[in-house]
């Protein structure tokens, strides 16, 4: 449609240009004809003033001949021009005709092409239609198949859901049972914990008390054991001494026992003595100690002060801390320890 419009415009323009060309040809032809007409009289006037009487007739004849000739020539020329114009008009008419024919021809061809195209289009549409139908058919088949499948799946799913639901119910029941069981266990655990904590606290307290009691007891026991060991050792020595009684004097026997106990007591007191840091060389404190039969201190008196009160007191404290002392069972040896002395020296 568009194409034919453009073609029409082109064709129209073509005709217009042709017409313009023809008209201009006309105009030009007219102009070239008028020019010589205007020039001739001017020449005649100038010439006339210069010509003599005698020659006028001859000149007039010549002039008439010349004019005749010129008229003929003019007629010829005009005929030729008319002839040419006629030809040109004819040519133009012919060209116009040709153009119209061409136009007509093109139109027909166009129509034909359109017809063919339409036919082709129809054919394609038809084929397309067929394909679509075929497609739809296929799709339908597919849909049917899918629907069937879905139905099948759905059924399967429902079955599974049902199964799951059943399982869930079972699970929930189990969970509930488990929860219940756990709660019970927690409660029991909590109770147990509580009672354990209480128990632990009690135990800790008990242990602490026990530990303290044990510590004290252990200390006592240690003292006791030491004493016992010392006693045992002393007894052994005593026995030895007794065995040697026949060979040795009673005094020497007792002296040996006493020596042993002195050494035991010395070690013990030294251990308990915290020597003051300001205890300088050369200090000495002598303490007189009287003991009770069990070995406990009855009285401590300073018989020779070190002149350093701190030193004296540290010695006293050491004696008190070391008590009770282990004493020999032998009455004669033990008698020596009822009332005896300590001599404290820093080194």
């Amino acid at each position: 449609m568009n194409k034919s419009l453009i073609e029409n415009i082109i064709a129209g323009s073509y005709a217009l240009i042709l017409h313009i060309g023809l008209i201009s040809l006309f105009v030009m032809g007219m102009e070239s004809k008028s020019e010589p007409i205007a020039v001739l009289p001017q020449v005649d006037i100038v010439k006339a003033t210069a010509i003599s009487e005698d020659s006028v007739l001859a000149e007039m004849v010549r002039q008439q001949e010349h004019e005749q000739k010129q008229l003929r020539a003019e007629q010829d020329r005009q005929e030729k021009v008319e002839q040419k114009l006629l030809e040109t008009q004819q040519e133009l008419a012919r060209k116009e005709r040709e153009y119209l024919e061409q136009q007509e021809q093109a139109k027909i061809q166009q129509q034909q092409r359109e017809l063919v195209a339409k036919q082709e289009q129809d054919k394609i549409q038809q084929l397309e239609q067929q394909r679509k139908v075929e497609e739809e058919r296929k799709q339908q088949a597919e849909v049917d198949r899918k629907v069937a499948e879905q139905r099948k799946q759905k059924a399967e799913q429902e079955r599974l859901v049902e199964e799951e639901r059943k399982q869930q119910v079972a699970q929930e029941r189990r969970v509930a049972e488990e929860k219940k069981r756990l709660a019970e266990a927690d409660r029991q655990a909590e109770e147990r914990r509580k009672s354990e904590a209480e128990q632990a606290a009690k135990l800790a307290e008990e242990q602490k008390r026990k530990a303290e009691a044990e510590r004290l007891a252990a200390e006592k026991r240690q003292v006791e054991e030491e004493r016992k060991a010392q006693i045992a050792e002393a007894d052994r020595l005593l026995q030895e001494s007794l065995a040697n009684e026949q060979r040795e004097q009673e005094v020497r026997r007792v002296g040996g026992v006493v020596q042993q106990y002195m050494s035991i007591i010395s070690q013990r007191v030294t251990r308990y003595w915290i020597k003051p840091a300001n205890a300088t060389k050369g200090l000495q404190a002598i303490l007189r100690v009287s003991l009770l039969p069990g070995g406990d201190v009855k009285q401590v008196t300073i018989v020779k002060s070190s002149s350093n009160a701190i030193f004296d007191r540290s010695a006293e404290s050491a004696v008190y801390k070391a008590a009770p002392f282990s004493l020999p069972t032998d009455p004669k040896a033990m008698a020596k320890f009822r009332d005896f002395q300590f001599s404290f020296k820093p080194e």
């Binding site: 004290l216 006493v258 002195m262 007591i265 010395s266 007191v269 030294t270 251990r271 003595w273 915290i274 020597k275 003051p276 840091a277 300001n278 002598i286 007189r288 018989v303 020779k304 350093n308 009160a309 701190i310 030193f311 007191r313 540290s314 010695a315 006293e316 404290s317 050491a318 008190y320 801390k321 020596k336 320890f337 009332d339 005896f340 002395q341 300590f342 001599s343 404290f344 020296k345 820093p346 080194e347």
Partner: protein, 432 residues
């Protein structure tokens, strides 16, 4: 006639021990050097609550000395506040030699009645018992005084809990400048107060023997100059502002002279300045070496000082009248900043080992050296007036702090909770 009587009497007296010797005598020598167990029972409180926990201050004082082992509070079997409430047998079981009880009461919250008693547990005997009346502000100081009394009663040595520490603190201002302050605190580092503030460095504080004056170096005039400041009035005098260095002041034991380092002759030398007359006498004459950090021996006749005359800084001894110096330190490549214990037995110094600096102590009789600290950035050691502890400056997290160590190296202690950078500590003499 009288003479012969006296003779006879003295003979009798000398014979008496002989009589005693007839008794069996057991010799005890040695003994242990353990800390003395003592029970400090929290003081009772009546009326207004005291702003200071006196018994706790005492407990901390005693424990910090290393000479006492206060029983753990959980071990205290009862809480008596006076003698009638004490069952000595119980306390003997704990093997505690001393037992301290007391109470604090106030009817107005301003004045407090404080009483305490110290007992010998084994003899069931009171060793000290005192009652005081102090304003609330005096409670802490009283606690330190009680600690001193207990310490002295049980060890026979002077307590130093109510002495003071002087040191220099440095604070960076928001403007990026430094503010120096000479501060004085309690012996445990608590309760610090400024006695001098400056934009310029302050260093080397030194206490006069009576504890009434401080001498120090201040850069307030653009260079090191020595000042003396009275503690009570705050009055201060420039005592050395010669050309060159004026530094390292140290009071003579009689409090009349200052040993100083001056470089007015072109090189740091030791001088002695008589404070009353202003008379200056030069002690060292080694123009090639640095001689500085003089300290007086307790005899007041000799000085110890640091010198690099041997190539490296070492401690030397010289008569305060001048003369030939003798080298004192031989261990290690670097020994400086000496201080001497009041009993004259020990010298403490900064001891350099592999580029690190430790506090060491040297037995002046035997020459034996013991390194006491471990951090490696320790300086300015200063003996406690009882010769038992050494105060020094060290660093923690890039900040200067004060610490103390016992002469035997067994007790280490950090002093004060100051947020600022502190350094240059000096332990005051006993407060008279």
């Amino acid at each position: 006639m009288i003479k012969s009587w006296l003779m006879a009497l003295s003979l009798l007296i000398t014979l008496l021990p002989w009589q005693a010797h007839a008794l069996l005598t057991i010799e005890i020598t040695g003994g242990s050097e353990a800390a003395l167990p003592i029970a400090v029972v929290p003081f009772g409180n009546e009326g207004f609550a005291a702003p200071e926990d006196i018994s706790e201050v005492i407990r901390n004082d005693l424990a910090s000395s290393g000479r006492f082992a206060p029983l753990p509070k959980g071990d205290l079997i009862s809480s008596p506040h006076d003698k009638s409430e004490i069952n000595f047998k119980d306390w003997r079981l704990l093997r505690s030699e001393g037992l301290l009880v007391g109470k604090v009461s106030s009817v107005d919250g301003e004045t407090y009645q404080v009483q305490f008693q110290l007992f010998d547990v084994y003899k069931s005997q009171q060793l000290i018992g005192k009652r005081y009346q102090v304003p609330a502000s005096g409670l802490r100081r009283l606690a330190h005084q009680i600690s001193d009394l207990i310490y002295q009663t049980l060890t026979g040595e002077v307590g130093v809990f109510s002495t003071r520490l002087a040191f220099v603190s440095v604070v960076n201002t928001p403007a990026g400048q430094k503010r120096y302050a000479l501060q004085v605190s309690d012996a445990d580092g608590a309760n610090p107060r400024s006695v001098l503030q400056s934009k310029q460095p302050i260093l080397s504080p030194s206490w006069s023997p009576d504890g009434e004056r401080l001498s120090y170096v201040s850069f307030e005039n653009g260079k090191a100059e020595v000042f003396v400041q009275e503690m009570r009035s705050g009055r201060r005098d420039s005592v050395a502002a010669f050309k060159g260095l004026n530094s390292a002041p140290s009071w003579s034991p009689d409090g009349k002279k200052l040993a100083l380092t001056l470089s007015k002759a072109g090189n740091p030398e030791i001088y002695v300045l008589e404070l009353a007359s202003g008379k200056l006498s030069r002690v060292t004459h080694n123009s090639q070496a640095i001689d500085t950090e003089a300290v007086w021996m307790p005899n007041g006749r000799e000085l110890l000082f640091t010198s690099d005359r041997g190539g490296r800084p070492q401690i030397y001894k010289v008569s305060a009248d001048g003369g030939r110096a003798s080298r004192v330190t031989f261990e290690g490549r670097y020994n400086a900043s000496a201080d001497i214990s009041a009993d004259g037995r020990f010298m403490t110094m900064v001891h350099g080992l592999n580029g690190k600096y430790y506090i060491a102590v040297q037995d002046l009789d035997s020459g034996a050296v013991q390194v006491l600290t471990e951090t490696g950035q320790d300086e300015s050691p200063s003996f406690a007036p009882n010769s038992r502890n050494i105060l020094y400056a060290t660093e923690q997290n890039g900040k200067g702090i004060l610490a103390a160590v016992s002469v035997d190296g067994r007790i280490h202690q950090r002093l004060g909770e100051s947020g600022s950078d502190v350094r240059e500590p000096a332990w005051s003499p006993i407060r008279k």
